[in-house]
């Protein structure tokens, strides 16, 4: 005798206990500490902070631990925590020209004032598994920079500023108005660039990467050069009304990418280079480069380019789908019970088939609906429904 | 600190008081013409308890507020600045407004929403002497089972507002600790 499923609460508790056990893994293996994750899985921590939109390495590391290394789940934990935090104010814009540089490269010039700095990059590592890491020994110390030149070096100017001086770059002016806040007001279309950049900065790295790649392969191509990619630390300053000036409240690591793109100009305007921009908290250069390509592709309208129908040119498409917390929630929710709707579909499809079968024998061959082989009779073919199930 | 006395009268249990007040406001607007109790705040004169409670429930730094007529006084300004921080504006920029009917007008001065966003329209809190006076209008529309009646000011203006639907203004009429709602969707006719 069928009894309605009871004990949902007990099932949920048991699932959580099992999850906690799986998270811990073999108890004979020492437990990971949050500090270990923060220090040794720093690029994962960076991604969680960037897409979680919260700068807190300890919490990001905790989230990664709690999520068993599932970064999207960790980002979700950070987002849910973030929304409960009070807001004390907004910082003044971060000045990336005053960044304390760890890495800085330009693809457009052999050398630049301030120098090319490789920094801690995978770029020229041969992707050979390093079995020495299995032995858990300390790596040989990296050579340190000459402190004379490292910390006292003049701020490295933006490479694109050099082109700007010659009038070769599209001019870029500081917007005086406060940009809208994606997390405090509903997304509205069409979205201005500040809002688009915000969405991209916290958008899913994989999604932005795929879109950027599609532009390179011709779906909204923008001929991008990496004018400059820089990674380093910037002071965050906040205006204190009582003081009447801004004070530094901390330092965050940022990755910034500026691309130089072709622009043919027009009858009235001589040809000029245009920009794509990417800025991501933490060390996350794949994301920053991808973001700058997508940003540039989204600017087709203001630059008078053709809309070729490429996905990366479609701001509504990109912005509506780049958030991995929204995407994963809605994607995965289809595993929740939908049996009520399914029942209504069952009932509908049975009736449609019944009616079709009842109507069929008059005109079609009697064998049509009973023959096991596929038949050309339109009658029993099930009506494909276009509605998406929620 | 000596201003403290003037700034009293906020919610004593903010989240629960606001929750009760909202439910009263929701019932009022969802059942046009019905009168609900609305209390929790004790604002300075000339604001009624209901109007003050409604403002603490709905207004904050994100809702430009227009004070009309006698409501625009130092005591009210100071109280609102302390309790909800709503920026004070003229009617053309207001999302909320409070005052007596004759001081609030003309209604055309307020945002009535746009075809794309009809929700971006002002809500007017109309201070009245009483809500239980003799009814002069029949109400019909969403929220009304068959027919409701209410004492309303200026039926012609309210009918014009309804004619703008789905654009238009929404109203709360307040007196003492009582509130009555009149959304733009309600058709009003002289009794």
């Amino acid at each position: 005798m069928y009894v309605a499923t009871k004990g949902g609460e007990r099932a949920i508790e048991a699932a959580h206990a099992w999850l906690a056990e799986e998270r811990r893994g073999d108890p004979a293996v020492p437990e990971l500490s949050v500090a270990q994750i923060r220090e040794q899985m720093s690029l994962a921590v960076n991604r969680v902070m960037a897409e979680g939109s919260l700068h807190d390495p300890d919490l990001a590391a905790l989230a990664i631990k709690q999520a068993r290394g599932d970064l999207i789940e960790a980002i979700f934990l950070i987002r849910a925590y973030r929304t409960t935090l009070p807001r004390f104010g907004a910082s003044v814009p971060v000045d990336t020209a005053r960044m304390a540089i760890d890495r800085r490269i330009s693809a457009t010039f052999k050398d630049v004032p301030g120098g090319q700095v490789l920094g801690p990059t995978f770029d020229y590592s041969h992707r050979l598994l390093d079995f020495a890491l299995m032995a858990e020994g300390a790596p040989p110390p990296a050579p340190t920079r000459d402190p004379e030149t490292a910390n006292t070096a003049a701020p490295a100017p933006h490479v694109l500023a050099l082109l700007d001086r010659d009038g070769l770059m599209e001019p870029q002016t500081d917007g005086a108005e406060t940009p809208p806040d994606l997390t405090r007001s509903p997304l509205e279309m069409p979205a201005e660039r500040a809002l688009r950049l915000q969405a991209l900065a916290r958008g899913d790295e994989g999604f932005i990467l795929g879109l950027a790649y599609s532009t390179q392969r011709g779906y909204g191509r923008t001929h991008a050069f990496v004018g400059e990619l820089r990674i380093g630390r910037c002071i965050v300053e906040m205006e204190i009304p009582e003081l009447g000036f801004a004070v530094g409240i901390g330092e965050i690591e940022l990755t910034e990418c500026e691309t130089v793109n072709q622009f043919t100009g027009s009858k009235t305007e001589p040809a000029q280079f245009t920009r794509g921009y990417g800025l991501v908290p933490g060390q996350s250069e794949r994301k920053a480069i991808a973001m700058s390509l997508v940003d540039r592709a989204l600017r087709w309208e203001e630059l008078g380019e053709d809309n070729t129908g490429a996905p990366a040119q479609d701001a509504e498409f990109v912005l509506s789908h780049c958030d991995n917390i929204q995407a994963t929630g809605f994607l995965e929710h289809i595993k929740l019970p939908h049996y009520v709707d399914f029942q209504s579909e069952l009932e509908l499809i049975r009736r449609l088939r019944r009616e079709a079968v009842a109507a069929a024998p008059q005109s079609a061959a009697p064998a049509a609906h009973s023959a096991p082989a596929p038949s050309s009779s339109p009658a029993p073919s099930s009506p494909a429904k276009g509605e998406a199930a929620e | 600190m000596q201003a403290m006395a003037d700034l009293s009268g906020g919610f004593s249990a903010p989240s629960v008081d606001a929750a009760h007040a909202f439910r009263a406001a929701l019932e009022a607007l969802a059942r046009p013409g019905s009168v609900q109790d609305l209390r929790g705040a004790t604002p300075p004169a000339p604001l009624s308890v209901a109007a003050g409670t409604l403002l603490l429930t709905l207004a904050d730094s994100a809702t430009p507020l227009h004070l009309a007529g006698a409501a625009d006084c130092d005591a009210v300004r100071g109280w609102l600045a302390f309790h909800c921080g709503a920026p004070l504006v003229g009617p053309e920029a207001a999302m909320l407004a409070v005052g007596r009917w004759e001081d609030l007008g003309p209604l055309s001065a307020y945002p009535r929403g746009t075809p794309d966003y009809p929700d971006r329209s002002a809500t007017l809190i109309v201070e009245c002497d009483a809500l239980d006076g003799p009814a002069n209008a029949t109400l019909s529309g969403p929220g009304i089972e068959t027919r409701a009646t209410a004492p309303l000011p200026d039926l012609a203006t309210l009918a014009e507002n309804h004619a703008l639907y789905p654009l238009g203004l929404d109203f709360f009429f307040t007196a003492g600790a009582r509130v009555m709602g009149l959304p733009r969707s309600t058709r009003t006719e002289a009794l």
């Binding site: 005798m1 609460e9 009506p383 | 929750a19 909202f22 929700d119 789905p166």
Partner: protein
């Protein structure tokens, strides 16, 4: 920085309401949602954009409904949460527990005892009454979305009351299948103006939307929309004169309580494909059984 300064050590299982504001959301957020709800009431069926917050449960699990419920709850409320009509489905259990913990409200499985009901995919069988609020969880609030994916376009269509596309779609259904092949999330027109998605309730439930004594509120968290149907509002399921709307259900009676007029779940009971039908509304079914009603597979238990 600011996070560090304000972070409090929070136990993993916080005790009721001590660690969170009443009903979880902060007051700023509740005010924002409440303003949206009132505009929704004033323009029945129109989708009000709201700055949906990230909730501690995934998008798609009812974050919109949860935010609406949180903005409406008072401590005296008695909350009922159903998913597929049942109080004991896991997500209903989870949401109910969330509000027990963060708002400390009493809960119930009885429709008639509840003052606020949050639902996913069903409207209770028992008629609602004045003083009750029904909160729907909504995945895709835009009824035109599957016909036109662009928000900028659908917004314009609502503004111009241009619902031709919807009628074309419904008519194409009739041309192909002989009837309108939409069995749930069946579009409705509210108060003679806005076309609205009633959330994915089976079309069997559509008639209950109209002239309902309760306040009906709809929350779509991921899509950042709130809308409402005030009490006694006319809600009409879209149809054609020669193809009138028909609410439908499985052609059977409940095998447990014998109800002939309630929406039924079909349950497969063995490998041979045997099946039974039971009320999807578990409270309705158990109440009927308690009153002595019996269905086909439940007769031997009559004392």
């Amino acid at each position: 920085m600011t996070a560090r300064a304000t972070r409090k050590a929070r136990p993993e299982r916080p005790a009721m309401s001590e660690d969170y504001n009443f009903a979880y959301l902060d007051e700023d957020t509740k005010r924002m949602i409440r303003r949206a709800l009132l505009k929704g009431i004033a323009i029945p069926g129109y989708q009000v954009p709201f700055a949906s917050r990230e909730m501690p449960m995934p998008y798609g699990w009812g974050t919109g409904g949860v935010q609406v419920t949180a903005a409406c709850l008072v401590p005296e409320d008695r909350l009922k949460v159903i998913d597929q009509g049942a109080d004991d489905t896991t997500n209903a259990v989870s949401i109910r527990r969330f509000f027990e913990r963060t708002a400390g409200v009493a809960t119930t499985t009885r429709t008639r005892e509840a003052t606020l009901i949050q639902t996913r995919h069903r409207i209770p069988e028992e008629p609602l009454r004045e003083g009750q609020i029904l909160v729907y969880q909504v995945p895709i609030p835009e009824p035109l979305r599957f016909l036109e994916p662009r928000e900028s376009e659908t917004r314009r269509m609502h503004a111009l009351e241009d619902y031709g596309l919807m009628h074309v779609k419904l008519y194409e259904d009739i041309a192909r299948h002989g009837e309108i092949a939409t069995s749930y999330a069946y579009p409705v027109r509210v108060a003679g103006r806005h076309v609205m998605d009633p959330s994915p309730i089976p079309k069997f439930d559509n008639p209950k939307l109209s002239g309902n004594a309760a306040i009906q509120l709809f929350g779509a968290g991921r899509e950042q929309r709130i809308y409402a149907v005030p009490p006694w509002t006319q809600v009409v399921s879209l149809d054609f004169e020669d193809h009138p709307f028909t609410p439908s259900k499985a052609d059977a009676a409940c095998d447990l309580c014998g109800a002939a007029g309630s929406y039924l779940d079909e349950v497969i009971t063995d490998d041979a494909g045997s099946r039974m039908f039971v009320c999807s509304d578990t409270d309705y079914c158990t109440t009927r059984q308690a009153e002595g009603h019996r269905g086909r597979l439940n007769r031997e238990e009559v004392a």
